[in-house]
């Protein structure tokens, strides 16, 4: 595409807010436009949310009403039976155990990521040392690296260390800042903080540990919150990692348990399968409802993916 042909390129750095020009539109026209906008947006919302609503509705329906022609979200026979079955778990392990496992992994991921990513980001953003630029470039490059290139050797390493079927392979990367996205996010954030802060602290004799701990960390709250939310949700939804490394059902997190459940029940108990899917998503949904503002804003300012 060519560049702009507009005769008056803007010079102003701060554009005026795009309010409606009352001269250009009559009141009636405005109303029609607004109604049209909401009609389109609501239809889109219905389409986008339908799978989720279908899932929730089906989890309360008896099996006979889930498959086939039942596109309806409503049922006269709502019950919690599916959830009761789903909570029983699979292979003699209760779903509560899977929940606990998922929680341990997700909390571990959050703690590890917050610690390691913030420390590394401080080095990249605030300390001048030889090789920093080079390392920073390498860190960015790992953002583009398909992780399949490393999973086979990683598996071999952990297998030889006897760490398969433990949580170590799933968590160690989090404590070693392996999610470059979060390091990058924090570097960008820290670069936005005024340099006078650490200069003043330095004059007062503070070292890097103090500057990091008592000045940077408290100021980085928004970045830390985004990181926590996303690392929690990503860990909660992670499937490939547990699939590779865990073989005892007692250690399974929910996604893996869910797969086991599907494998063993197949289509015989659709309702319970969907109820368990709902349970597995529940924390993510609750997180989203509570933090949706942070999440959506975090994405737009930091370019995170879903």
């Amino acid at each position: 595409m060519t560049t702009m042909t507009t005769p008056t390129p803007s010079k102003s750095a701060t554009p005026p807010p795009s309010v409606y020009n009352p001269k250009s539109e009559s009141m009636g026209m405005k109303r029609t436009k607004s109604v049209a906008f909401h009609a389109v947006a609501l239809i889109l919302t219905a389409i986008v949310l339908y799978p989720g609503l279908w899932m929730i509705a089906s989890s309360f329906k008896p099996n006979s009403e889930i498959g086939g022609a039942n596109t309806s979200l409503w049922s006269a026979n709502f019950s919690f039976d599916n959830f009761v079955t789903a909570m029983d778990g699979i292979g003699g392990v209760s779903t509560l155990t899977f929940f606990t496992n998922s929680l341990v992994l997700a909390v571990g991921a959050v703690v590890g990521t917050i610690l390691s990513a913030s420390i590394s980001a401080y080095a990249f953003a605030r300390i001048n040392f030889p090789g920093r630029g080079l390392f920073f470039g390498m860190m960015i490059a790992t953002l583009l690296l398909p992780f399949h290139v490393v999973i086979i050797p990683q598996y071999i390493i952990f297998q030889q260390l006897g760490l398969v079927d433990t949580y170590v392979p799933l968590l160690i990367g989090k404590f070693l800042a392996a999610d470059a996205f979060f390091v990058f996010l924090m570097v960008q954030f820290m670069r936005g903080l005024p340099a006078e802060l650490d200069e003043a602290a330095r004059i007062d004799g503070a070292g890097h540990v103090r500057i990091f701990g008592s000045i940077m960390l408290p100021l980085m709250k928004p970045a830390l919150i985004s990181t926590s939310i996303f690392s929690f949700i990503w860990s909660w939804n992670d499937f490939l990692g547990p699939l590779l490394y865990l073989n005892t059902p007692e250690k399974y997190p929910l996604p893996l348990a869910l797969r086991l459940f599907v494998d063993q029940t197949q289509s015989s108990d659709y309702g319970a399968m969907i109820a368990m899917s709902v349970l597995a998503l529940l924390p993510v949904l609750v997180f989203f409802l509570v933090f949706q503002r942070y999440i959506v804003e975090g994405v737009s300012t930091q370019g995170l993916k879903g």
Partner: protein, 317 residues
Amino acid sequence: MTSSPTLSRRAVSSKAPLPRKSRQRAADARAGYTFLLPWLLGFIALTVGPMISSLYLSFTNYNLFEAPKWIGFDNYATLFQDERFLQSVGVTVGYVVFGTPLKLAAALAVAMLLNSKRKGQGFYRSAFYAPSLVGASVSIAIVWKAMFGDSGPVDQGLSFFGINLGGWVGNPSMTMPMFILLTVWQFGAPMVIFLAGLKQIPADLYEAASMDGAGPVRKFFNITWPMLSPVIFFNLLMETIHAFQIFNSAYIISNGEGGPAGSTLFYTLYLYLRGFSDFRMGYASAMAWLLLIVVGILTLIIFRTSKSWVHYSGDSK
């Protein structure tokens, strides 16, 4: 990304006498590496080391139990005679080529719809973003499989309109559209990024264009597209790389087998099956390196061509 002229210099050292300056520099170097230690360790142990050994393994026969046996380029040569491999390439390329542009187009269209001051914007943004957060989860894959099951709700809904596609999950020619719908459904993540980009475009550009009598189409191609091109570029790059790595939904929807008739045998699923079901780790490593090379070349192409269509406004510091 070499050295660091962009970073703020510390004023402290400029006034201090020389010995102190160099002492400070040494202290900074020590502190820098200490703070970087976790990342450095992870980078070497979990990225660089594995990359090198994966490259080595790709030239060997290795099954995890016996020592790797060097076989040169055999794995790579075999790959191109492996019909399942070729099929997995076809499936993945189809998914990337059709899914990614459709997803981005949906994201951009909806972002433009939402980019006006109206009530309920926050609600719509959140509602549209939600699928991106759960899209790759096992739960959603299960729901998708149930909804798109042959004579399932989607099929039934369509037959109400007189459309009969002969099922989705069990119909080899319909599994790809099903996966594309799954990725397009997650348009919310790029949409939110587009929205942020649209908000950066000065409104007076549009006003000036209106005064010159430009219609919406002209405004889109002469203002929106060029001004948004850096964001389009970012989304295109990230979504493309992302799409190549689809795994969870492919695994769940196809019961980990890639059926029916191999129509859902995505590249990463085949890599997983070769490496971790058949324990042909050398073969799978060769696949991983091919993926790396292809994604690398693609990234390069996107970067190269971006010069001709990505417009960076000169007034950014």
